[in-house]
């Protein structure tokens, strides 16, 4: 299928964004005055001169076929002179100037299977990663859990009844592509079994010193196996980080019996009110249960409802828990507190409860 190179260009960079901006944005660039959310999924930005831009946000699985993208293009042509954008959380936004086009567009989007929502105090789409679709590292799938969780929370996407924004993210391994470490709710794929050593391939594929050095806990030691250099793993010391696997394909961690997901909560990135926070471990392990991971969706649903019911208005998940304290959160949620919850990494000492500030 290779084709003739006519004139090879490099380092041209991306197209200039100005080519893609609708006239109303060009005219009011930097001159927006305020916005309103007339209905869930629709933003109205009003410029100094009174001009009004409507953005209609539709949910997206992010993994899109060219078929679907062409459909988007059609809708953009039909309702907004061909102008649209994607958001930092992978939703698609149609940029309208004609208010009367909003409802027909939404109807068409719904017909296409794309609900409109995700604005204001809602759950918007889940920032996620490749999973079994494309990555060698995955301890779980990405798109499947995302679909199941969003199905289960769809009314919170289509309405704005939550106390604040709720950002969910998923990463299929500890590399944490995405914003898992700072999300209101994070779903994180984890291995729980130390790497199995492929003794045949290891000497061929990997440099022993690199492999040994890659392990942060010094769990890997060089040995000689069958006259060839190899490694052994002190299983007690393994914390399943997969750093060794990143440098050496002969040390796979994936293991259907032991892979699964953990749930982390209470992170955020905005500076609104509270400073950015890391997510904290809520549920150490749930086995993979495809295709719809019911234990995961169930657990998340429970946490969402608990927060929705108890938080003050504007309080993000982490702010709410910080106010009531983690012990009370564990009591309320019925989640069992376990040894796994107790930090034992670098800054562990600072996570101990160092005061008598307790609830009973």
């Amino acid at each position: 299928m290779a084709e003739e190179v006519l004139q090879r260009k490099t380092d041209i960079g991306p197209p200039h964004y100005s080519k893609f901006l609708p006239p109303i944005i060009k005219e009011n660039y930097g001159k927006w005055k305020y916005h309103e959310i007339p209905r869930p999924g629709v933003l109205m930005h009003v410029a100094d001169n009174g001009a009004k831009l409507y953005s209609v946000r539709a949910g997206s699985p992010r993994l899109l076929s060219t078929f679907k993208i062409r459909k988007y293009a059609e809708l953009a042509d039909k309702y907004c002179d061909g102008y649209l954008r994607f958001t930092s959380r992978h939703n698609v936004e149609f940029l309208l100037t004609k208010e009367e086009n909003i409802n027909p567009l939404i109807a068409d989007l719904n017909a296409l299977g794309h609900p409109v929502g995700g604005t204001g105090n809602s759950i918007t789409s889940i920032v996620h990663t490749q999973g079994w679709i494309h990555c060698h590292s995955a301890a779980t799938d990405a798109s499947g859990i995302v679909k199941a969780v969003m199905d289960d929370n769809i009314e919170y996407f289509k309405t704005m009844v939550l106390p604040g924004k709720l950002r969910i993210a998923l990463a299929c391994c500890l590399n944490m592509c995405g914003a898992v470490h700072c999300s209101d709710i994070a779903i994180l794929g984890i291995h729980r079994r130390p790497p199995k050593i492929n003794k045949v391939n290891l000497p061929k594929m990997c440099e022993i010193p690199n492999v040994v050095a890659s392990c942060p806990t010094a769990a890997i030691r060089p040995v000689v196996y069958d006259g060839k250099p190899s490694v052994e793993i002190l299983e007690d010391k393994c914390m399943f980080c997969a750093n060794c696997f990143t440098v050496c394909p002969a040390l796979p961690l994936a293991d259907p019996l032991n892979d699964g997901v953990s749930i982390w909560i209470g992170g955020k990135v905005s500076n609104a009110r509270h400073e950015p926070m890391f997510s904290k471990l809520a549920i150490p392990f749930i086995p993979n249960n495809p295709p719809r991971w019911p234990e995961v969706t169930g657990a998340i649903r429970k946490i969402v409802e608990l927060w929705a019911k108890n938080a003050h208005k504007h309080e993000r998940m982490g702010e709410w828990i910080e106010r009531i304290g983690w012990p009370k959160f564990f009591r309320m949620s019925g989640i069992e507190f376990q040894k796994e919850h107790i930090d034992d990494f670098k800054y562990a000492g600072l996570t101990y409860k160092r005061s008598a500030h307790l609830t009973y």
Binding site: P14, S60, S65, K68, I69, A76
Partner: protein, 403 residues
């Protein structure tokens, strides 16, 4: 590539149900005509039933003269799924702010339909347009067509990664600087660093127009540029009173939630002690028609966030508390700092050590010394609590001695 086989996908079919748009439907749509996507469907069903992925470590593949932009990928079941024996992704640099015309999207689709799986991510979590899966021999042709259409590859490996930003001034009343213009400028300024990995590890830039940080820059970028202001919050008192009248409980929702504890409300006037305002955006977020960031706008630059592998996750921390961001961008002193930082990191950083980890290792104080920045209180949440100070000088018989 015609599709000749049909896979049974009972598990995946379950994921066509429900109201959220289904990625399975997307794959199936492509699998109708595309053999790669069809094999992907088969492989994925197998992964679902075995609870395990079937991809091997990626090899080094790429386009001529570029070191990044392609993630090589091969299945470990090439006999069973021959059409995805190679299944490399291309990372294509998106336009700032992810704005498109329908025409631009169709151009991208045309290219990808001709050379790949017909599947994409719009977008990857760094921000790129992801062309999801093709064979090695297709890479050059795709690349050539892309550049012909005005698109270029993004980053991967130990290079500058595709910079990304919020929509900023294009659509947001709070943008304190022009995120899209700066992002476009940075992307072009660092084309070489983006395409030819030469760093100890990856280097990400993310630009948010205000402290709401709609691209999560503080958590996901080595260089986080977050808009802010340093004069007074603009207040339209009449509008504040309207909010109060229309049901906003100003004491509960705003006064008591202000982290700077610097707002007073007597039922008529809102009084902000701007000298204690932490620029968190909360009061503005709640009353967008009444309040707005000040007029003396710029950005705070933070450095060093990343995911946890392997020393633990980091958030970016303040390096420049306030910087004006104005055209001509290339005259900004800022680039000198970036250069100094990179020089130091390239020289002394370990392999696979992000710049944030490097700073943690050598210490902020030493890092500042080396890049030529003065230490200032804004860089710390609080001064040290431990008494182990490395005083650098002492006196000997009446004269000061440098250690």
């Amino acid at each position: 590539m015609a599709v000749d086989k049909k896979y049974d996908t009972p598990m995946l079919d379950e994921l066509e149900k429900g109201e959220w748009p289904s990625f399975v439907k997307e794959i199936k749509a492509a699998a109708e005509w595309n053999a790669m996507s069809n094999d992907l469907l088969g492989l994925l069903e197998q992964s679902y039933s075995e609870k395990m992925g079937h991809w091997k470590h990626g090899g080094i593949v790429g386009v001529m003269g570029y070191g990044g932009g392609i993630i090589g990928r091969y299945t470990d079941l090439p006999e069973k799924y021959p059409n995805i024996s190679h299944f490399h992704t291309l990372r294509i640099n998106m336009p700032s702010g992810w704005f498109y015309t329908s025409e631009a999207l169709r151009t991208l689709c045309d290219i990808w339909d001709a050379h790949g799986s017909g599947l994409t991510n719009m977008h990857g979590s760094t921000g790129d347009i992801i062309f999801l899966g093709t064979r090695t021999e297709e890479l050059e042709p795709v690349f050539n067509k892309l550049t012909a259409a005005g698109f270029d590859l993004g980053g991967s490996g130990s290079d500058v990664r595709t910079p990304s930003c919020c929509c900023g001034k294009a659509r947001c009343e709070w943008a304190c600087y022009d995120t899209m213009a700066l992002t476009h400028f940075i992307t072009n300024k660092f084309q070489d660093e983006l395409h030819r990995p030469a760093f100890p590890y990856k280097m990400k830039f993310k630009m948010s127009g205000c402290p709401n940080d709609c691209v999560a820059s503080v958590a996901r970028s080595d260089i986080s540029i977050i808009g802010t202001w340093r004069d007074e919050i603009q207040v339209d008192m009449q509008k504040v009173r309207e909010y109060a009248k229309n049901g906003t409980d100003i004491v509960k929702e705003i006064v008591m939630m202000c982290p700077g504890k610097c707002i007073e409300w007597d039922g008529k006037d809102l009084n902000i002690d701007n000298s204690s305002c932490l620029h968190c955006m909360h009061c503005i977020n709640v009353m967008p028609k009444a309040l707005a960031p000040g007029k003396d706008r710029g950005a705070v630059v933070l450095v060093g966030s990343k995911a946890p592998i392997v020393e633990g996750a980091l958030l970016s921390s303040v390096m420049i508390p306030f910087m004006k961001i104005e055209e001509p961008f290339d005259e900004m002193e800022f680039w000198k700092l970036i250069e100094n930082m990179w020089d130091l990191w390239c020289e002394e950083g370990k392999n696979r050590e992000r710049i944030g980890e490097f700073i943690q290792r050598v210490g902020m104080g030493n890092f500042l010394d080396s890049v030529g920045l003065e230490p200032i209180a804004e860089m710390v949440a609080h001064p040290r609590e431990n008494p182990y100070v490395f005083y650098e000088e002492y006196f000997e018989e009446g004269e000061e001695v440098e250690k």
